[in-house]
Amino acid sequence: MSAQAAQIVDWKAHLPQGAGAEELYKSFKEKAEALTVKVIRASSKEEAEKAIVAEMKELKIKKAVGVPMTLVDVQAIKEALEREKIKFSLELDRDFIEQAEFGISEFDLGIAELGTIVQDANSVHKRLVSMLPPTHLAVISTKTIVETFADSLEVIEKVYNGNPSNFLAFVTGPSKTADIERVLTIGVHGPGRLIVVCVD
């Protein structure tokens, strides 16, 4: 296992003043929704877990994958999903992840002005889960929504003390292309559907 994977980073300690403010959440939601992202607000861990299960049920998902998380209890989610006969794997099994219809992972920051979510994606597990399945559900803490892209860079500089993580992913809406006749088409190589659950 690489050195960086084991490193535990504390994002909350380095957020700018005012991060997570109500108007930042509002702007985040508005910008993300304009990009077809579904934004769900959860006041508690349990509410978030319920919302995640509900989303998968609604989409009639049979196979889903996830990674270990801190904002929600993935074991509780797994048990709830199993009751719904939804297969949910937390294993780093490349081919299973590729076959899955739904992936869930945790993101570290939100950007209000853009509806963007940011993830330290040094973990290959996180990357596969957030890239390969056609739907991705990202869990973020409402408190970590900062105002601007430049703010997010400042946080990153502080969090990693000037040595940014090997792989940082900024995600703004679903995967898309307009390469044929400039017609916007959703869902090329990455997920065509993006859901963000903001946990208070």
Binding site: K31, R94, E157, P164, F167, T172, R182, G187, V188, H189
Partner: protein, 730 residues
């Protein structure tokens, strides 16, 4: 060889390609508004000022930044290779592939790899798979991108379906979502099997060793994730000093490129991230991360005293999206590998002067790209510099070279030629609907000059003779103004000069016409600054005279010559430069001068013309066509409108796309009439739709072009110079 018949065939093919015209035309038309929407609330001038400054600083410190970047990448566990050219890149990649026994390579978009024809040179080593949808499509038919951001914009969905059918071995319907789904499926297999991933890089941060990649499809993330080896191809011009310098580029690039607030994915790689052992895992190992730092002419570009400015490019391609010429012909004609105006500059360094020779000739110099460039690059003027450099290596063909090098340079010969033109063209001249003389067709090899729009008949008496007999009655004389007439007014439209004299007389100034020759602009536009130097000196002898309060021209191209070109071409000749600066300081275009004089009177606008020549019970509807040089080079936009609006006899209305180039472009319309015709027709359509009776212009070149076009179309609209309108001659 400058533009030749083979190149003309390419141009005509592009002009007659409905797919190309449809796709590019549509995008070009919607882009400015879409872009303006995403930039709402953002101070673009401030933003591009920051980007330009950061990029210029990075260029000035490129060697130090490169060293710092390399050091940081190595410190984090990446391997760095410096490549002086394409050959180096092929060798480095072949070795990487050999060490891994690699068979399949997935590639996410990289213009640098296109520039060195990477796929072609590596296809014997590995299967090279482009994974950006547009790139994958053109790879199937062995084409080069026609746009830096949208490589397959020149292909229709029907053509794409054919390509898909051919590549997949079964019939694919021309349905875009279906094709995108099939591309996902097909390329996913390649991602799962690939041994090596190659990607480009938009920003390389020296401070942290971070490489930033912007994509929408997500192929760069997969390229950087799935294979155990990731190679990033980084051009020296991508270096940025600080991590925080990413922010301004991230703010501008997606907005200027595709009118998006941000691309779907921004990937920042600062070291070898985790990967699955032997592609499948589940054991986790560190990725093998290689960085190839590519020179291939970049260091020469970044250290060039003139062209280093082109290094401020962030490859958004908004200059292409707003270029009226690119919109007509696309990047396979207006481009070598990098397309459009900026492409013609980069090509000279990344490829060769020969490769940019014809491409740079496509620029009409309208200056629209400069207003949009987030790197604040003066693309049109750099192209003129490039033309000058190209023409030193590759001269113009004999006749053109003789005209610009000998006739234009020689004052007497030039005047003689123009005077002869008057009687020589007389037999082909007849009267138009508006009462002016036109040449509608010319015999022999000159046919192309007049068959798409009528030319003006030459005046029997040039202005230089006419002014001698003009009685100038100036009451309450305030001073003396020297008039630089320019060839078009002098020999084709002396009446504009006469109006100018009368209007300025009324303002209290005597107008004199010092001995003069061509302003030298044609020489500059044809890449002969050496000729322009001689011409400028001849004119300066007469114009650098303290007795003139102002120097006025009624041709914005001449005004640009007086205000900018003369000083520029004579920058190394101190004595002449001093004179040129003196002239530049008091030179104004006619309408700007009128605006200034009126403003001096306390800023109260008053009518200039007391009456008009024809009885007009109701005000005449007049619209305004902006000359590119006046509007974008001299920054005069509102002044003519303000002057026209206060005229009681005129009812001013704006037309659509009033600032879009009319296609004249001086020698451009002789060099590339095919392009000029298309540009002119669009302008004429806007004029017809405007409901105006009169089109006001400030440039006699535009006037010539518009009158000629309207005459050919048998239109009732009339075109006047503002000097004539302010003189009541309409």
């Amino acid at each position: 060889m400058p533009i030749d018949s083979a190149f003309k065939v390419k141009i005509n093919k592009a002009l007659n390609d409905p797919n190309l015209r449809g796709a590019l035309g549509k995008f070009g038309d919607i882009f400015p508004e879409a872009r303006a929407n995403v930039y709402k609330g953002i101070d673009f001038e401030e933003l591009r000022g920051i980007i330009a400054q950061n990029k210029a600083n990075a260029a000035a410190n490129v060697e130090a930044l490169a060293n710092q970047f390399v050091e940081n990448v190595v410190k984090r566990g990446g391997k760095v290779h410096r490549a002086k050219d394409g050959n180096d890149v092929y060798q480095i990649l072949k070795e990487i592939a050999k060490a891994r026994n690699a068979k399949v390579c997935v590639k996410s978009k990289s213009m640098a790899s296109e520039e060195i024809h990477l796929n072609h040179h590596l296809e014997d080593t590995m299967q090279m798979v482009e994974t950006d949808l547009g790139e994958w499509i053109i790879q199937q038919i062995n084409e080069k991108p026609s746009h830096m951001v949208m490589p397959a914009i020149h292909l229709s969905k029907e053509k794409c379906a054919e390509i898909f059918s051919q590549a997949l071995g079964y019939e694919v319907e021309p349905d875009i979502p279906t094709m995108v789904r099939l591309a996902r499926k097909t390329l996913r297999e390649h991602f799962m099997n690939a041994d090596v991933g190659i990607s480009g890089c938009n920003i390389a941060v020296a401070e942290t060793g971070t490489m930033v990649i912007f994509t929408n499809e997500g192929n760069a993330r997969l390229t950087a994730t799935m294979p155990p080896v990731h190679v990033v191809l980084v051009g020296y011009e991508k270096l940025a000093e600080k991590f925080k310098d990413i922010a301004p580029i991230a703010k501008a690039l997606p907005k200027s490129a595709t009118a998006q607030t941000l691309t779907s994915y921004v990937t920042m790689i600062s070291g070898p991230a985790e990967t699955l052992k032997d592609k499948v895992g589940p054991e986790i190992v560190d990725k093998e991360l290689h960085v190839i730092l590519l020179d291939n002419g970049r260091r020469e570009l970044l250290s060039d005293p003139v062209f280093k400015e082109a290094g401020q490019c962030i490859r958004c391609a908004s200059c292409l999206n707003v270029c009226p010429v690119y919109q007509l012909v696309g990047g396979h004609v207006f481009g070598h590998i990098y397309a459009g105006g900026i492409g013609s500059l980069l090509t000279a360094f990344f490829n060769s002067l020969k490769d940019t020779d014809k491409v740079q000739e496509m620029c009409i110099g309208c200056g629209r790209c400069r207003e949009f460039c987030p790197g604040k690059i003066d693309i049109p003027n750099l192209i003129l510099e490039m033309r000058n450099r190209v023409r030193k290596e590759i001269p113009l063909p004999g006749m053109q070279n003789f005209i610009v090098g000998t006739v234009l340079r020689n004052k007497g010969l030039f005047e003689f030629g123009l005077r002869q033109a008057s009687w020589a063209s007389a037999p082909f001249t007849s009267k138009g609907k508006d009462g002016n003389k036109y040449i509608r067709s010319l015999p022999f090899g000159f046919k192309k000059l007049a068959d798409w729009r009528s030319l003006p008949g030459f005046a029997t008496t040039p202005f230089r003779d006419k002014i001698k007999s003009m009685k100038q009655e100036v009451s309450g004389k305030k001073g003396k103004i020297a008039f630089f007439g320019g060839c078009v007014i002098d020999y084709a439209y002396p009446e504009i000069g006469e109006s100018l004299v009368r209007v300025l007389n009324r303002e209290g100034y005597e107008v004199v016409y010092p001995d003069q020759t061509c302003c030298g602009a044609p020489a500059v536009y044809m890449g002969r600054q050496d000729v322009a130097q001689d011409i400028a000196k001849q004119n300066l002898e007469q114009f650098a005279n303290d007795e003139f309060d102002y120097i006025v021209s009624a041709c914005p191209t001449c005004t640009v010559a007086l205000k900018e070109n003369w000083g520029h071409v004579l920058k190394d000749d101190h004595v002449a430069k001093e004179k040129a600066d003196k002239v530049a300081a008091k030179s104004l275009d006619f309408i700007k001068l009128m605006h200034t004089l009126k403003k001096e009177k306390g800023g109260v606008w008053e009518e200039v013309a007391a009456t008009c020549d024809v009885a007009c019970p109701t005000p005449i509807k007049v619209t305004y066509h902006d000359s590119c040089h006046l509007n974008r080079e001299l920054g005069v936009k509102e002044e003519p409108r303000e002057m026209l609006k206060v005229q009681a006899h005129l009812d001013f209305i704006e037309m659509e796309e009033s600032d879009r180039c009319c296609g004249f472009g001086g020698s451009y319309c002789i060099k590339l009439p095919e392009i000029s015709t298309e540009l002119l027709n669009r302008k004429l359509k806007n004029i017809e739709n405007s409901q105006a009776d009169i089109v006001a212009v400030d440039c006699p070149g535009c006037l010539m072009s518009l009158r000629g076009g309207l005459d050919t179309k048998k239109s009732n609209k009339r075109v006047f110079h503002t000097a004539e309108l302010l003189d009541g001659k309409y």
